[in-house]
């Protein structure tokens, strides 16, 4: 266990090694939130409420969705693909640990780093500039945190899956890019799921993506109430469990088929 904690620490150090990345990240996220704030204000116009969300809830939704993204977002799929491409994955196979577990820990280290030094200060800045409502209910915060953990797990699992695919495709830059767009769109980051047409909503309810962004943001903005919250978190947990299956299957296949590229 201590080696996994050590890995989180090492990832912290790596994040600190590239400070410019860190500062520019805060800036980019703030600009994004600002842009979406003005966009949504324009869309709402005179309307007090669209699809059951008020302007204030919508602004909060956007801000929280982006700040949560800082926590769950990671590039481990690209890292895995790069390691496979240049053959460095060989080094990982001679280590006495579970590679996927280690990768998840790296992602967690990155997530915690961003949550503490990026989301929290960023949220304070954003709250000063834009009108955002924070819930006073402790339960809302608690459920939000739980669902944030699940959104990290589900997103990381999807990243692992895309990463492992490069064992079979050798070059899956296209797949990784497509996955990113799909997640941003279908997870409810850009647009709450309830804004999609009904048929699209029913398709999405069978996909794991809404567990990533839509559910934690809806919980935070109190768009979900009562039983809806429990169901939503359960749905996330369900996806977290289901996604383990293809990961384990693909991983054991990948290990068998592993060809170390480049000598």
């Amino acid at each position: 266990m201590s080696m996994y904690l050590e890995m989180i620490r090492v990832r912290f150090l790596m994040m600190l090694a590239y400070r410019t990345n860190y500062y520019s990240g805060i800036l980019i996220y703030s600009i994004n939130i600002g842009a979406y704030y003005f966009l949504w204000s324009a869309i709402y116009g005179e309307n007090a409420e669209i699809q059951g969300l008020s302007v204030l809830q919508m602004t909060t939704y956007v801000a929280v969705a982006w700040m949560a993204r800082a926590f769950y977002f990671n590039n481990i799929d690209r890292e895995i693909a790069a390691k496979i491409k240049d053959g460095k994955v060989a080094i990982e196979m001679i280590r006495p640990y579970n590679y996927l577990g280690m990768k998840t820990m790296q992602a967690l280290g990155e997530g915690i780093f961003r949550l503490l030094f990026f989301s929290v200060p960023g949220m304070i800045i954003v709250a000063l500039i834009f009108p955002i409502s924070f819930s006073a209910s402790l339960m809302t915060w608690l459920f939000f945190l739980v669902s944030l953990v699940f959104s990290f797990i589900v997103n990381t699992q999807i990243n692992l899956l895309t990463g492992i695919m490069s064992f079979f495709l050798f070059n899956n830059t296209g797949l990784i890019r497509a996955k990113r767009v799909v997640i941003d769109l279908f997870s409810g980051l850009l647009l709450p799921i309830s804004f999609f047409p009904i048929w699209a909503q029913s398709v999405m309810s069978y996909l794991p993506f809404q567990a990533i962004s839509y559910i934690p943001s809806m919980i935070f903005t109190e768009g979900f109430v009562g039983q809806e919250i429990y169901l939503a978190v359960l749905l996330q947990a369900g996806w977290a469990l289901i996604l383990m299956i293809p990961i384990q299957l693909l991983w054991s296949l990948a290990k068998k088929q592993l060809i170390v590229q480049g000598g």
Binding site: S2, V10, Y18, K88
Partner: protein, 332 residues
């Protein structure tokens, strides 16, 4: 005790060949021509504890593939491997705790962080106690002279500095078996000497078994008593290094440097001596025989011609291996 036991090991790679031209490229979209190539072909090998074995061969001979199978990175197509009493691929996590690996071409340290952070992480990964770490690594760090490098990020190190750190990293858990895949590639002579000296030391001190692949045969000469020579996936020689030398090359080469220009007819005609002119005043004699013939030759030559210098050249391992690569192994 046998540390490595390999029997009839074989690894095939499936590779496809591209058809030529645009039409061919379109056809490749649907069906591809596959070819099955054996990279390692029926290799059997045993290595005892405490041995230092040089594993040599041309580029693409299958050295790295063998190492990757021995370390559990690749699965063999067929054949059996037992290393440290385990099956490397099946018992991977348990197995890799008992080996150390250095790939000369691939860094295993974390690029963006200080060397000591990598060491600290590896120490946790291999569950090395503080006591063992301080005692063992203190010595390693001192011998490899990497103390001042520990707080620098890996990307700022020179190749020689990095390589020494890599070696130290592979030894954190003091493994009984060490695989080195071209550890001295691209290093200067001083660093090479340092690394060789260090390897000898740990071999003596801990009885560490070392399997080494390299293209620099002076490494092998300095370190290994036993060499395994690989060609096109097959072992063509497995035995003592000095026997390889005496088997593969008959006789010696004598280089005469004369004071004045010398014609062929001024030189003695002897059976089993073949002459070759290097430049106007220098001739090379290839002697196919023992020392007596060599001294007879020298006395014959010196009697008739004033000479500036005579040199008897030992044939280097490099020369032998080159000869074997080019002409094949006659005595295998």
């Amino acid at each position: 005790m046998n540390v490595i036991e390999v029997q009839n090991l074989r690894k095939e790679f499936k590779s496809y060949s591209s058809r030529s031209g645009l039409g061919g490229a379109f056809r490749d979209l649907f069906t591809r021509n596959y070819k099955v190539l054996p990279a390692v072909d029926d290799v059997s090998l045993t290595i005892k504890q405490g041995e230092m074995v040089g594993y040599i061969g041309e580029n693409g001979a299958g050295k790295s593939t063998t190492i990757k199978m021995l370390t559990g990175i690749l699965t063999p197509t067929s054949g059996s491997i037992v290393v440290n009493g385990m099956n490397p691929h099946k018992q991977r996590e348990e197995f890799v705790r008992t080996i150390g690996v250095v790939f000369g071409q691939r860094s295993q340290l974390w690029w963006d962080i200080a060397v000591q952070e990598s060491f600290r992480l590896l120490k946790k990964v291999y569950r090395v106690s503080d006591e063992d770490y301080n005692q063992h690594m203190g010595h390693v760090i001192e011998t490899l002279e990497i103390g001042p490098l520990l707080d620098k990020p890996v990307r700022k190190l020179s190749l020689g500095q990095r390589m020494r750190c890599e070696l130290a990293a592979a030894l954190i858990h003091n493994p009984p078996l060490l695989f080195l895949d071209e550890p001295t590639i691209g290093l200067d002579v001083l660093v090479k000497l340092k690394i060789r000296k260090f390897l000898k030391e740990i071999n003596e001190q801990y009885k560490t078994t070392i399997l080494l692949t390299t293209h620099d045969l002076t490494d092998i000469e300095a370190l290994c008593e036993r060499v395994v020579l690989l060609d096109e996936g097959k072992i063509i020689y497995d035995g003592k290094l000095n026997e390889l030398q005496s088997h593969a090359v008959e006789g010696k080469q004598v280089e005469f440097e004369f004071l004045a220009e010398v014609q062929r007819n001024h030189l003695p005609y002897l059976a089993n001596v073949h002459w070759e002119q290097k430049d106007a005043t220098t001739w090379l004699a290839y002697v196919n025989g023992d020392e007596r013939l060599v001294s007879q030759l020298i006395s014959d030559v010196v009697k008739k011609n004033p000479i500036k210098n005579v040199r008897i050249n030992e044939v280097s391992t490099e020369e032998i291996v080159r000869k074997i690569y080019e002409e094949g192994m006659a005595l295998a």
